[in-house]
Symmetry: C2
């Protein structure tokens, strides 16, 4: 921890926690354009107490994000920024700090040890600093990409926002070390799609799926399960939109919510409202897994395209719905009541197309495994041309949204569309994917998939903290690699996933045996997880497993439902051959680079104790 020098200590005592009572901040030199006229459509609390609140908007034309950071109880300053996975080290930061006399605003970065340094190039640009009734409001902007190698590149997908609170003045920026501060992170999709909102039908009706008056448990993580049912005889409708209903004051508590439809094969489901891991939860609720709606922190309303809707109600579908609410309560607040949920907008006037959800990626099988101690191991699942040829209508399907899914070691997910051996288009990509933040995301651009196209889903895993191989499967300590794509028109194809051919995996275990003095059990009684557990993970066995996965034939699941395959031969299929890859877009440096100030912006502070 940095100890301020005595004179600063004195100044600090003048400030302390009561400093910010009466603070007038005038920005000495405001640069660049005036703040945009448009309001800030997106807003999120950064810390659990909600003292820091971020609003923002995105200009895709200028490739710039405008941020408005509201600091409710300013002490001696604040840090805000972005980093790869939410760590405060190696972060790209803006810092508002005071040395006791004056306040400064600057673009900075933290090194591996958490030490803060001023950026050579100032890319966060302060536009306004204003004292409001709610607190200090800072308005600043930043381009998506800068030419500063110390800067974070703002990309599609998850962004890990970080913050820190300065409790006392610091003589200089370099005197700050993040390890001595109150800090935290918030995940958000910063680059929201810029989609015009489709008109709602005139006969639209709404239904609130809420767990009323839940007493939120005083522990960090709660998944609350609540069963509701549709009215008796509720006919077939189309869901055309849904939005979150978050109980006022609980904005920082409600992390994500999902509505599932239960399985039609059961007449009824027991009513239940309690933690999903409760011993009291009826077994049957595990059969409520068909997603109708999903929301996560920072997301807005979800709209179906004008020509499609998600069918629910009517014969052949269950009347029972399960609401799942994830409460994130790191401060272990007790006694808080919550009635959050999701409001469904639906119409009886069925739209032209039924929307559907298709699973892409890897089959849930242990044959796909990640060795331990890997920091960026990639597994890939295929939806082959043979399957799309057979299962998709001649005019193709249109993917408009996507939800990426892995378990705990997932770090990146991407699905690419390939045609005639050439990668054509990214369906969805998240380079900062977190298993703790799984949203259904509208695509910025609808992707059309035609018969004969190939969809390639790759997940990158970090098993740096594991001692044994992590195999594919349903368990939380096993792994998945899935992209649930939302599309229309609905087809019979529900699952288009692959896994390595099990026979080739046995050849792998056999060669591991031959090359190593240690015994790998390849006897027929040993299960694949047992075989993986006995592999000695030297460089050879790791590299050969990688080589196997990028060479061996695959077994395809080209299925109508999880149990029913399309007709055809799906074993020992060749891996799709890719002859040309999509190129990474080269970032062009903003021309306005020279206009940025070379140092921090000085902010003159008048006032003192109130």
């Amino acid at each position: 921890m940095q100890v301020p020098s005595p004179s600063v200590r004195e100044a600090a005592s003048m400030y302390g926690t009561a400093v910010a009572v009466f603070l007038v901040i005038l920005v000495a030199a405001l640069q660049g354009s005036a703040p945009p006229e448009s309001p800030f459509p997106y807003r999120i609390p950064l810390d659990p107490e909600g003292t820091l609140e971020l609003s923002w908007n995105v200009s895709y034309v200028q490739e710039t994000v405008h941020f408005q950071l509201l600091v409710r109880e300013l002490k001696a300053g604040v840090l805000f920024g972005m980093s790869d996975r939410g760590e405060l080290e190696n972060a790209d930061l803006v810092v508002l700090w005071t040395d006791g006399d004056s306040a400064h605003f600057g673009d900075a970065w933290s090194d591996q040890k958490g030490q803060i340094h001023l950026d050579a190039q100032q890319d966060y640009q302060l536009l306004r600093a204003q004292r409001t009734r709610e607190g200090l409001s800072l308005l600043f902007k930043r381009p998506f990409g800068t030419c500063d190698p110390k800067d974070y590149l703002i990309e599609d997908g998850t962004v890990h926002l970080v913050y820190g609170i300065l409790e006392e003045p610091f003589q200089s920026l370099e005197a700050i070390n993040v390890s001595s501060l109150q800090t935290g992170l918030q995940r958000v999709q910063l680059l929201k799609p810029n989609i015009s909102v489709p008109a709602l039908p005139s006969d639209v009706r709404t239904m609130e799926v809420r767990a009323p008056d839940v007493l939120v448990p005083g522990r960090e993580t709660t998944y609350w399960c609540h069963i509701t049912e549709l009215p008796d005889g509720f006919p077939r409708h189309h869901i055309v939109m849904y939005e979150p209903i978050v109980t006022e004051g609980n904005e920082a508590l409600v992390h994500h919510m999902e509505v599932f439809q239960c399985a039609a094969e059961f007449e009824s489901f027991p009513h239940f409202s309690g933690p999903c891991d409760s011993k009291m939860k009826p077994e049957r609720l595990n059969y409520c897994r068909h997603v109708l709606a999903a929301w996560a922190l920072g997301a807005k309303a979800f709209y179906y395209p004008e020509e499609a809707g998600l069918a629910f109600g009517g014969p052949g579908s269950s009347r029972f719905l399960r609401l799942e609410v994830h409460y994130h309560n790191p401060l272990m607040i007790k006694g808080r009541r919550d009635s959050s949920g999701i409001r469904l907008y639906y119409t009886a006037t069925l739209r032209r197309f039924d929307a559907g959800i298709m699973e892409l990626g890897l089959v849930y099988t242990p044959v796909m495994a990640i060795p331990p101690q890997e920091t960026g191991f990639v597994l890939t699942g295929y939806c082959t041309d043979k399957c799309t040829q057979l299962a998709l209508p001649p005019s193709g399907i249109h993917i408009f949204a996507s939800q990426l899914h892995t378990h705990l070691t997932g770090r990146k997910v991407v699905t690419v569309l390939a045609r005639d051996g050439r990668e054509k288009e990214i369906v969805n990509r998240d380079n900062h994917y977190s298993p703790h933040f799984q949203e259904i995301r509208m695509l910025k651009k609808v992707v059309s998939v035609h018969p004969g196209d190939v969809l390639i889903t790759s997940c990158t895993y970090n098993t740096g903290d594991r001692k044994l191989a992590t195999v594919g499967g349903f368990g939380i300590l096993e792994e998945m690699c899935v992209n649930y794509v939302h599309y229309y028109p609905l087809t019979q194809l529900e699952l288009c996933k692959s896994a390595v051919d099990p026979g080739f995996l046995q050849k792998y275990f056999h060669l591991v045996n031959r090359f190593n003095s240690e015994e790998v059990c390849t006897c027929p009684q040993a299960s694949v997880p047992e075989q993986f557990a006995s592999v000695p993970w030297n460089s050879f066995n790791r590299q050969v497993l990688k080589a196997l996965y990028s060479f061996a034939p695959i077994s395809m699941h080209c299925n109508k439902s999880s149990a029913v395959r399309f007709q055809g031969e799906w074993n020992l299929q060749p891996l799709p051959e890719i002859i040309s890859k999509l190129e990474e877009p080269t970032r062009h440096c903003p021309a306005s680079q020279g206009q940025s100030p070379a140092g921090p912006t000085m902010v003159s502070i008048g006032g003192g104790k109130g």
Copy 2:
């Protein structure tokens, strides 16, 4: 080919080949420092006719090379520069060109198609353009590294210099395409070591080893073999220095020369003077392989360190020497006479230490092979801690020079010294190695090797034009990976090389069999080259071979001579483990960057037809 527009064509006719008769060039704006006082110690003809001659010096303090390019018969301009392997495409160039009216000098680059473009950043800096009796002399300088991604990084080792001759004016730089020009390349070690010349002993004597009055054959490549002998009873001496003797006028013809001592086990060797590939050459000359001296184009005198010399003469060494001269005669000039050779400086007052030559790298065995169609496949040979522990004296040895060696597909060679699992120092590295340019190079810094140290020699190969695997061996179409290091004091260790354990290679062939439907012959009768020839080179077999070479135990040759091993177990040795690698030095951008002119320098030309 670029066809100049009519008006330019007219201007061109005014110039043509006779343009440069009377040409006064005044440099309009000379920038930067004055030309250095020091002369140019290094000089080389660029083209076979010697019309372009390059002189240069190196400042390691300023990290800058000063070039003086003499253009003997200036036509409409000249191109000079550097590229990865001597191609005119993707080259870093300076261009002196005239548009008919005025002449320009600029830093440029050629793209993949040979089109020339002006560099955004001008890093070649013109210091003087002067008409002398010999021709136009251009003086310019360039830092080793620039921050321009289009620029070549001048590194230790081979540099491929390229040139082109402009026969007619061009309206603009962009109108020039290298494919329409007379062009060529010359390999050279640009960054010569900056070593102070050791004092020669007072009793130094010289001996010229020359092939007198050779009628150079009118073909592109000739290796001339010439046998001479030391006087009868010539006692033991130390060679302390040697230098080339190149017949005047043949500077562009004599490519490299080596002096070998013949094997002591034969009483005498037949006298012979003729092409080394002649049918008339006596077989016995193949036993003259012990290198005494080697010189290649652009090299200066070779000095032994003050405390060491290379022993020759006396009992136990042959009196017979073989001189080999490589004539490079691409213009197929006939009737040229040459008496080039090497002048040895030797002393009877033996120095404190005998110098020696040790072979590092790979054993000449087919078990080390490169798959076909690889553009950068790396093979690595080890000199293990166990061998250096056993064979080196407690105070270690000192390597002062090195000659890298591969056959035709070699592209890079590097030897690194590691101690306690950590890479410590580069012994010698050539990132632009060419098998056509094998010099003995003085090291910039003597490298001391202690018992227990590891020496790791890696060669990078390009087999892009091969259909079958390239195996290790003596044949010109087989490969080698060798670093002949020159060191003192002499030890018994002549060879410290490795190869993969043959048993593990057989396991590899076995698994290739299992994973592929095609048959790889692993029957005991098949030789290793036959086995490699039958491998189907898919991605799996390539990657597993790489994994094998970086994992499987090795067989060590820790030998006193090529046949006699040091005592000990040398089979199935573990690969040396490297826990920390040497980091690439980060290039700092020169501070003077801003001073460089933004465009080409205008050079005003007075004069016309003579």
